[in-house]
């Protein structure tokens, strides 16, 4: 009964976090612990409540992906006061004194950088930089700072690869494929001179929506270089052998992050050793040729 | 401006499509009862609403106790001493009766608190003083008050501190004779106290009995301002309607043997074994005091209230009626007494309200055409002289009596075998009343059976073939027309003598 750890996720109904929760639970059970998952649906206030509920239920360790990074001091203080171990998953957070909370995962900036790098490479390879009329669609949840970290980093990398800063067009959505689709349509209309598009977003849903809008507007798969983030949507056309705008995607294994978070916490609980400051999970850029070796796809 | 406490000079008011009042002049003196009469839609309520600050006038001037109050807000009008007892009481449902009496002017304690003790004290005093003691539980919630109790609340609201002029807008339309008598006593008392009183009614005998002077309105224009002692009902009617009206209504006797409604040993929460019959072409009047259970009987027959025993046969067939829809399917119609709460969809048009009960009859495969609706109901709208700028007008914007006529039009159009009318002429003017009697008579002649609940004795006596008197959930034996007298009815109703 005492052997319990809890994971709190900012967006627990998203596929990525469902995976992460599965990884977290499986690892905990393997090590003789029970695990609980709490979803707070991007609500900072609920996140604090979840931390106190977890503590009250006797958790020995907490993994948290906070809805926003500024709330780090609040959650870490609550855990520290109760003498409960805490790791931050996915999005790094700070303690009150400015020191980072031990972290498991990858940070948004790093993700965006990888996505942008691959998009830049594909752009160079495509030869569009030599005179083609191209644009870069940056599909952004502008109200979410962790999202902006990703797309900003991706933009930097694409520009570093040679794209002009003018070519970047911002599209705002709310994280779902449907709003990305609705918002991208008019953006394409108001840029009628552009024949080729590079696409990235905060997540695979954003890229998927933009891809569909491009298809609706008559762009063929060859006119689009879309790099996903998450790869769970990108892999579907690959698996089905259908050509699509998705040329590559950053695969983040939610399962691996959850697994690593649980193991890190349990190790410290059992041994009393301090938590390692940073446990970086693998990310891999996948494409139609290698995704099947790296990730599941359903 | 002599000693007039209220002085209305040259008042005019228009609504979209209607000129409701033009150049109205009238005065009320302290200790004087001025009656205000006119057909439905003549503008009586509109003038009163202007005086109480509900509507703003378009032209003219109003003086109250010498001060101009032409553009007073409801608050200013009230503080100046003008109080209106409305035609339809406006009750707040989830606060107590006492609070209802005091809304907008609660007695205060320090800190903005309501002085409940003071409020109860004043309310109890008022109830005593004006003869309503025991009739109203002052802690009952507004929504549980019966129509008569609501009326008492409305009256007491007006009679608090500072009142100079009280206007009663058709106060007796939901009262029985006994309660009306109590109200007249009240009005006489107020007159003695030196208040100015305006009395609006369609019941001319009441006007003759209670008032000192009468102002007649026709289509928003004053057509007469007479001392009661110098005039009579005929003259007033002529001024109102512009022609002579026959006194009372004479029906031809129609007798058939076909029984349309047969009720046997009916029991319900309110009724204890009631049996009676209504034949085709027959009008059976239902008399009784308020609370005798007549409305409930109508609603049980119509499937709105639960029947706990007994049988109901329509044209010989036993019908198991559990909802109004069942009742309509069994060819029964019901025009309720409380038009605002139960009869009308106030935000919808005249045409829709009038045709609601014939939708299914008019439709083919569920499809309706507006034109068919108009064709079906406009004859009744015309015969009932419903005064409306168009068939599309929202019913909520019609005058009180015209609203009542819309409900009647609905059931006239539906032409059921059995028609139950609960207070069919409440708030209806004399001219239209005669017209309604003629229509009801026609329907009876065509073979409809009519159950008519009424608290107006002359109406019962002149219209009914037989009269059944109800008391505490039981009924008298039917009184045949030839034996029907006011005395016989009252005796059974009060339980002083078996009928």
């Amino acid at each position: 009964e005492d052997k319990e750890i809890v994971a709190i996720y900012k967006s627990g109904t998203q596929q990525y976090f469902i995976d992460q929760g599965d990884g977290f639970k499986a690892a905990a059970e393997e090590l003789g612990y029970t695990a609980k998952i709490i979803n707070v649906e991007l609500d900072a206030n609920l996140a604090i409540s979840a931390v106190s509920d977890a503590i009250a239920s006797g958790a020995k360790g907490i993994g948290i992906t906070a809805p926003d990074q500024a709330m780090g001091p609040a959650v870490s203080r609550a855990a520290a006061e109760a003498g409960v171990l805490m790791v931050a998953t996915d999005d790094p957070i700070m303690q009150e004194d400015g020191n980072p909370v031990p972290f498991v995962g990858f940070d948004g900036k790093a993700m965006g950088t990888e996505v942008g790098k691959r998009a830049g490479e594909l752009l160079v390879e495509s030869g569009w930089l030599d005179g083609a009329k191209y644009g870069v669609l940056s599909v952004e949840v502008q109200t979410l700072s962790v999202c902006n970290d990703r797309t900003n980093a991706a933009q930097e990398q694409v520009i570093a690869a040679g794209a002009s800063a003018d070519s970047i067009v911002h599209v705002s959505y709310d994280g779902t494929a449907d709003t990305s689709l609705a918002a991208t349509g008019p953006v394409l209309t108001s840029n009628p001179g552009i024949d080729k598009w590079v696409v990235f977003a905060c997540n695979d849903e954003g890229v998927l929506g933009a891809n569909n809008a491009l298809k609706n507007a008559g762009y063929g798969p060859d006119d689009v270089i879309a790099v996903g983030l998450g790869a769970y949507e990108a892999c579907r056309p690959w698996k089905a052998g259908i050509p699509s705008g998705f040329k590559a995607a950053l695969y983040l294994s939610g399962t691996d992050v959850g697994d690593a978070a649980a193991r890190t916490l349990i190790n410290s609980i059992e041994t009393g050793e301090p938590l390692p400051l940073k446990t970086v999970a693998n990310t891999t850029i996948v494409d139609p040729s290698n995704y099947a070796d790296v990730m599941p796809c359903d | 401006m002599s000693s007039a406490i209220l002085d209305v000079q040259g008042v005019g008011k228009s609504f979209p499509g209607v000129k409701a009042l033009s150049d109205v002049n009238m005065k009320v003196h302290p200790g004087e009862v001025v009656a205000f009469v006119g057909e439905n839609g003549a503008g009586k309520s509109t003038l009163l609403k202007i005086l109480c600050g509900d509507y703003t006038l378009d032209e003219g001037t109003v003086y109250l106790d010498g001060a101009e109050v032409s553009h007073a807000s409801p608050l200013e009008a009230r503080d100046a001493g003008f109080r209106l007892v409305r035609q339809e009481p406006e009750i707040v449902p989830h606060i107590s009766a006492a609070e209802n009496i005091f809304i907008g002017e609660y007695p205060r304690l320090p800190g903005g608190r309501v002085d409940h003790a003071e409020m109860r004290r004043i309310t109890t005093d008022l109830l005593e003083r004006y003869g309503f003691a025991g009739v109203l539980d002052i802690d009952a919630l507004g929504r549980t008050l019966s129509p008569a109790q609501q009326h008492i609340v409305e009256i007491l609201r007006a009679l608090k501190e500072g009142v100079k002029v009280v206007a009663f807008d058709e106060p007796t339309s939901s009262l029985t004779t006994k309660e009306a008598d109590r109200l007249f006593a009240l009005i006489r008392k107020l007159r003695e106290e030196g208040l100015g009183i305006i009395y609006v009614s369609h019941r001319l005998h009441e006007v003759m009995a209670i008032s000192d002077r009468v102002v007649v309105l026709k289509d928003g224009v004053p057509t007469g301002n007479l001392m009661i002692k110098d005039t009579d009902e005929e003259e007033i009617v002529r001024l109102m309607v512009g022609r002579e009206l026959a006194h009372g209504y004479k029906r031809d006797e129609v007798t058939t043997d076909e029984v349309v409604l047969e009720v046997e040993n009916l029991r319900s929460r309110w009724h204890d074994g009631i049996s009676f019959q209504i034949r085709a072409g027959e009008i059976v009047g239902f008399a009784g005091l308020v609370g005798a259970g007549r409305t409930e009987l109508a609603k049980v027959l119509f499937g709105e209230f639960e029947k706990e025993g007994g049988t109901v046969k329509i044209c010989g067939d036993v019908k198991d009626i559990r909802s109004p829809a069942d009742a309509i399917a069994a060819n029964i119609g019901f025009a309720p007494e409380n038009r605002k709460a139960e009869g009308l969809i106030l935000v919808r048009s005249v045409i829709e309200n009038a045709s609601m009960a014939v939708y299914s009859a008019l439709a083919r495969f569920g499809i309706l055409r507006t034109q068919q609706m108009v064709d079906k109901v406009s004859p009744f709208v015309r015969q009932l002289e419903i005064k409306t700028p168009s068939m599309e007008q929202e019913v909520g914007k019609l005058s009180g009596g015209n609203q009542q006529k819309v409900v009647l039009a609905r059931w006239l159009a539906a032409a059921p075998r059995l028609l139950i009318l609960d207070e069919p002429t409440r708030a209806v003017d004399v001219g239209a009343k005669a017209e309604i009697y003629r229509l009801i008579d026609d329907l009876a002649k065509q073979g409809m059976a009519i159950m008519m609940i009424s608290s107006e004795m002359p109406e019962l006596l002149s219209m009914s073939d037989r009269i059944i008197v109800m008391r505490d959930g039981v009924i008298s034996d039917p009184i045949e027309k030839k034996d029907a007298t006011e005395e016989a009815i009252v005796n059974f109703a009060l339980g002083t003598k078996a009928a």
Partner: protein, 358 residues
């Protein structure tokens, strides 16, 4: 006879309301749209004028068709919501119903390979969930707001539970995709009418006909305006409620199917969240009364168009999210305020006319 005179004032014509001023074309437009909706048209015109001064692309056929396509999901839900609100109810669970339908549709298409089945089952689950709403309201006598707030939560949970592992279900079927993004009557120069938009138009026309010309539709107005009076006029409120919530459910289900078709995946939540507020906004903006008894399909559809145009225009102009949020708020207030102002003016004018002796 004086009596006769009076009856002449009754207009025999029940048909279209008069506009207070203006002849010919203007009046004909007014009649078609309904005087009450004119303020929405005015707001739309002002907004389009503003947008076109900033970008030449607004009127490109492709953009217009885009707007049409993007209206479909909210539009279908708003049609059902109009029925519900006019009947003095409310349905907060519509987005969750759409989520369930999206999942059911995706499962049907991927497991059984039938697109027609996907549409049918998607709408079917919508009907079932709508009937559950009606049951809670009618039988358990829970008020519609609480009842559908409850099922808003419960149905969302159900959507996740139906989807294996709670994950979105990829559907790559081309025929299904056609429903979401296909076009009809495409030519060289014309980008074609979006299929989803055509579906919306057909549904809206049928609903308009039902609301204005059938016993069922008129009864919805009656029961919304005064349930007691409606019941006493023979309307079976319970049965009506079942039908109304079932229709709202079916249309929410259809909207969910279109979300699946558009995004090529069955989404338990994404794409269907917040739809309830959008649809409710549209219905009230379209002139419905909170208390029930008033509201039209035309009004609701104009409101959906207005909202879709605003969002399209702001995306065309590349306006940032924060300003988009503010602009949307201002537009809503403006559109309703124009309507109120016109109403007040018209009443004043008509009273003046009446005062002047007709």
């Amino acid at each position: 006879m004086p009596t006769e005179d009076k009856t002449v004032s009754i207009t025999e014509q029940a048909a279209p309301q008069m506009a207070p001023e203006g002849p010919g074309l203007f009046k004909r437009i007014t009649n078609a749209v309904g005087a009450e909706n004119l303020s929405l048209v005015i707001a739309l015109i002002i907004m389009v004028a503003l947008i076109t001064t900033q970008t030449e692309f607004f009127f490109s056929p492709r953009n217009l068709m885009n707007i049409g396509q993007n209206m479909a999901v909210v539009g279908l839900i708003a049609v059902g919501m109009t029925l519900v609100i006019v009947s003095a109810g409310l349905d907060i669970s519509v987005g969750s119903i759409a989520g369930c339908a999206s999942v059911v549709c995706a499962l049907t298409v991927t497991q059984m390979g039938t697109v027609i089945g996907g549409v049918a089952f998607g709408m079917g689950i919508g009907v079932v969930l709508g009937l559950i709403n009606a049951t809670i309201i009618s039988i358990l006598r829970v008020n519609p707001v609480v009842a559908t707030l409850a099922t808003f939560s419960a149905f969302r949970g159900v959507a996740f539970l139906i989807a294996p592992g709670g994950r979105p279900i990829g559907v790559l079927d081309q025929n299904l995709a056609w429903l979401g993004s296909g076009r009809l009557f495409q030519t060289e120069t014309f980008p074609g009418l979006p299929v989803a938009f055509i579906i919306l138009i057909i549904v809206a026309c049928v609903a308009h006909f039902v609301m204005s010309s059938t016993v069922f539709g008129r009864s919805i107005y009656s029961m919304g305006g005064n349930p007691v009076a409606a019941r006493l006029a023979g309307i079976n409120l319970t049965r009506m409620r079942y039908a109304i919530y079932a229709i709202s459910g079916a249309l929410s289900g259809l909207a969910g199917v279109i979300v699946t078709a558009r995004t090529s995946s069955g989404q338990p939540a994404s794409g269907t969240q917040g739809l309830e507020l959008e649809a409710i906004t549209a219905v009230f903006l379209g002139g419905a009364l909170m208390a029930g008894g008033k509201g039209t399909i035309v009004g609701s559809m104009l409101a959906v168009l207005l909202l879709a145009t605003l969002s399209n225009g702001m995306n065309l102009l590349g306006i940032a999210t924060f300003y988009q949020l503010v602009a949307k708020g201002l537009l809503l207030v403006l559109a309703v305020a124009i309507g109120q102002w016109r109403l007040a003016r018209a009443e004043k004018q008509q009273s003046k006319l009446a005062a002047a002796g007709k």
